[in-house]
Symmetry: C2
């Protein structure tokens, strides 16, 4: 919308990372990376008191070749055994593979790799070809007490893949990555766990050609990590897609599953509803690799009707007005929007600037009308479903938004958001090249506790000068929503950020927010689990852990707080 004179542009990195470099591990492997624009640059310069001079020299880019000074814990015999199971071509023991498949996408891992520091990694990387391979490997590892950590999309931001005790990184994305069947009658797809988001969605969209179905389908699950995450990962970490308000969370869209655990194979049955005791199918979800290995899942799928897709965007005079309107919308029983997202004033300002609305004539008009900077609140969304339904939902939303003082921004802002819905977080690398840290925390919260949690986190954040904190709510339920906090800062040393983050997590738990809404727990949040859930709930999870994994070989070393130093498996 707005033209700026580009007097200066940082030397953003365009060169791809070298073949076996640290950078090749922490960089997102995608073609869609876009460098931060001029608007972004203005924002961060102002926020962190930076000048053009600070953007002249990239630092700690991690271009060095990976060198691992860590001997394998496995004997030659053990390595041979894995080779015998899956074939030589599916086993790696080289330094680079061990480091690559031992890392997720957390900020912590990123910063460590940029400094060429490598913590605990697996001793061997194994790419199973099928269920039978997995079963043989689990039996062998259980016998030999060799840890197993499953690597699928590799997008964990919570140290979920850290091999605290070495062992095997079991890579499911290499071979076990297919849609096996699409069932037109039940509206389900049976898939392998290593199936990546885009492959899944493309297959469903083209199901008539590929599986002879009558209709086209959609998976309904579109997390920001869509391009780099797998269906198995969605289930195991309890993910939420950007359209979860309509389609449900990952938890809701799994009909049945098959797991291989040290305690045997758990294969749940295909029932739309059942009353046969506590649901083992649900117990397995969110187990983050600590109980067993998901080898197959039957997912609920949805009719693909892109022709009915519509967008909306509003500006509310205040965050409170946006929250109130959203609650009325979500509780209104007229159907639900798909994407639905409200930004707090700080995120709204940045959002308006990035979407090209800030500082335009349009913006000045909005201000004149009472939509004041650092007060106003941006809302964007989409509707899906059958034509009349989608139309009705949009109409009702518009009516309620207006009653709460909102001004329509047409569908422009939503369209802008859609363009970068999966790539927004890729700017992280460019900023980190210049020492600027971006990280996120998110928390589930009931409506009546939203303001308390929001205020508490904001005031904790503002104790640290020079931190940007962008907040939005993006997954809505009749009983509440989530708060998604994006932090940007330029710490002297990365350690300062870790301290800052721990204080925010403390604040979230103390003020009744969920420890995680959709990122999972991994080993990063595990130390807070008992404080959050209480000893009794943790004991239930530990009892399950002992049942499934008596030798503590499944993602051991603190995953979910089930067997860490402080929580040894008896």
């Amino acid at each position: 919308m707005v033209k700026r004179s580009r007097t200066f542009e940082p030397a953003w990195r365009d060169a791809p990372p070298g073949g076996e470099s640290y950078r090749s591990i922490f960089m997102y492997d995608t073609d869609t990376v876009k460098h931060p624009g001029a608007a972004w640059l203005t924002i961060v310069k102002k926020a962190f008191g930076m000048t053009d001079a600070d953007f002249k020299q990239r630092k700690q880019e991690g271009d060095e070749k990976v060198v691992l000074d860590k001997k394998s814990r496995l004997s030659t015999d053990q390595v041979s055994r894995f080779t015998n199971i899956v074939g030589e071509e599916n086993v790696q023991t080289d330094d680079y593979s061990r480091v690559k498949y031992g890392h997720g996408k957390s900020l912590d891992e990123n910063i460590e790799l940029r400094r060429n520091r490598v913590g605990d990694v697996p001793d061997i990387v194994v790419h199973p070809r099928n269920k039978a391979d997995v079963q043989t490997i689990v039996a062998y590892c259980n016998d030999q007490k060799i840890p197993i950590i499953v690597y699928s999309g590799g997008s964990s931001v919570v140290l979920g893949l850290r091999a605290e005790r070495g062992g095997v990184a079991l890579v499911l994305g290499t071979h076990m990555n297919k849609v096996l069947t699409v069932n037109d009658v039940n509206q389900t797809a049976t898939v392998q766990p290593g199936l990546m988001g885009p492959d899944y969605e493309n297959t469903l969209n083209n199901a008539p050609e590929l599986f002879g179905t009558k209709l086209r389908y959609t998976c309904g699950h579109f997390p920001q990590s869509f391009a780099i995450s797998s269906v198995g990962g969605w289930i195991l970490t309890l993910g939420s897609g950007q359209e979860s308000t309509y389609y449900g969370d990952a938890y809701d869209i799994v009909l049945s599953q098959e797991y291989i655990t040290p305690a045997g194979v758990i294969k749940t049955l295909d029932y739309p509803g059942t009353a046969t005791g506590p649901k083992v199918n649900d117990i397995m979800k969110g187990s983050e690799g600590a109980f067993g290995i998901l080898v197959e899942a039957t997912m609920k799928i949805f009719r693909s009707m892109p022709e009915n897709h519509q967008r909306f965007a509003f500006l509310f005079p205040s965050w409170q007005a946006a929250v109130d309107a959203s609650r009325e919308i979500i509780q209104g029983e007229f159907g639900l929007p798909a994407v639905y997202r409200i930004s707090d004033p700080e995120e709204t300002e940045i959002g308006l600037t990035l979407h090209g609305i800030g500082n335009t004539a349009w913006d000045r008009l909005l201000i004149l009308r009472g939509f004041l900077p650092m007060k106003r609140s941006l809302c964007i969304g989409t509707v899906e479903g059958e034509k009349g339904y989608a139309k009705h939902v949009k109409k009702r939303i518009t009516k309620i938004a207006r009653r709460h003082g909102a001004q329509s921004l047409t569908s422009y802002a939503a369209r802008e958001w859609e363009k970068s819905r999966y790539s927004e977080f890729f700017v992280r690398e460019d900023f980190l090249d210049y020492g600027i840290v971006i990280d996120t925390l998110e928390s589930g919260v009931t409506w009546d506790n939203l303001d308390r949690l929001y205020s508490a986190v904001r005031s904790q954040v503002k104790k640290s000068p020079g931190v940007l904190c962008l907040t939005h709510a993006s997954h809505f339920y009749p009983q509440g929503t989530n708060l998604y906090f994006i932090f940007m800062m330029k710490p002297e040393e990365p350690e300062a950020y870790a301290t800052f983050r721990a204080e925010i997590i403390d604040t979230i738990v103390r003020h009744g927010g969920s420890l995680s809404h959709h990122h999972g727990i991994g080993k990063l949040f595990a130390p807070w689990m008992e404080k959050h859930l209480g000893k009794e709930q943790m004991n239930v999870l530990k009892a399950l852990k002992r049942h499934f994994d008596p030798n503590a070989i499944m993602n051991p070393g603190g995953q979910l707080g089930l067997d860490g130093e402080e929580n040894p498996v008896p």
Copy 2:
């Protein structure tokens, strides 16, 4: 609609049961009992070759005073301890109370009581006043290894309340039966477990007067047992209400819960969404008293908008047409009906007769139009929600039904059904007085397995001559539905029915139906659990059982198949 000459009417029983009689235990304690009409009489006479003479003498009415020839297993000291905890007025050890609170509403218990036969019953009946009482009782019983069985609504039809090993019947409906708070912001109600359906719904409907809320609410859960079942029972047995297609099953409408178990208090937190490992809140649901005692629950509630309530009814030319249309409706993504029910041809004929349509001019017209007896299929339903939404859903349903050859019956049939929605099963007593047995089984099933399961059960049923089998599907999901089988027969001896039922259950399990869709498992279905779920899933449930209840005091003796003779808790 239709007038019949009433040449004969059986002497249906009008006298209420005597104060301490067996009949007072198995009879439904309700004012809404209506005797079977002439149409019913014609149907059963024809089906079972009965004449007026067979309806002259009622048999085994169970009017005798309860006598229990069973010494209490508890010592005087133990009884005193309970008296000390809850007060003398809240403890009963008399024969009648022990029998009353040791029985649910299964056909098996009914027939036993009619014959003055009493199996295992509790040794003592205790009415706790609050959570603290429950906690003290659980601790004491765990120490003394005294079994505890919770009695709330007492409507179990699966021997869920049978005190196989004696012990305490803990009656929650006496004191712990209130709505504690209604939260207008979160749309939740916090309730005690012994709260009965009608009390809950009335309180929510009148929340503005009782709790000062802005809006009126509904609980959204209306099982046929609504009048005689409790909120705690809904959760613990995974019930489904008649409007579950819109509001969800009991499983779906529980936000958080508090349980007292031998392993401590499990109090889950109020989050609309969370990704903090396997959900303990869900693990507790469906535990049928085998893990611990639910003492408080926060339920999701819904806006009460009776002004938008609408009904519809259709006649389809065939069961297959009804099934196909229903699937298209439920998968259509235009919103969902609330009540939605399709009857198979056998149930349709009886339904049309009972609703006064069969054998009328209207009926003859329908037949002329090709809706043939024993082919055609009745569909009734309602819509709820916001006005425009409800209207749109009804419009779309009508359109799809018509495309599948349906003829509208106006809202007449649905209105007729609504009148008896909670009392339909009360005719059971009148028929049993004359030796006619009515019982039900129900099963969850995916769309692609529906025909196979339906056909298998029908052919198994028809191996026994003189059995009526009415089938409907009444809880719909995008991935499938349930089949609800109503059996009527006049066996020489009740044992013949038990054999018949076991064969049907075998058939259901063998043909991929869920062992229970919404009645739970209790001790009646427990012997099938391992065959149904498999050893590995049962081992998970047993591991949880051992964790929560190491001394096997919580509803022991086979509940859910977790600690029966064949499944001892180690």
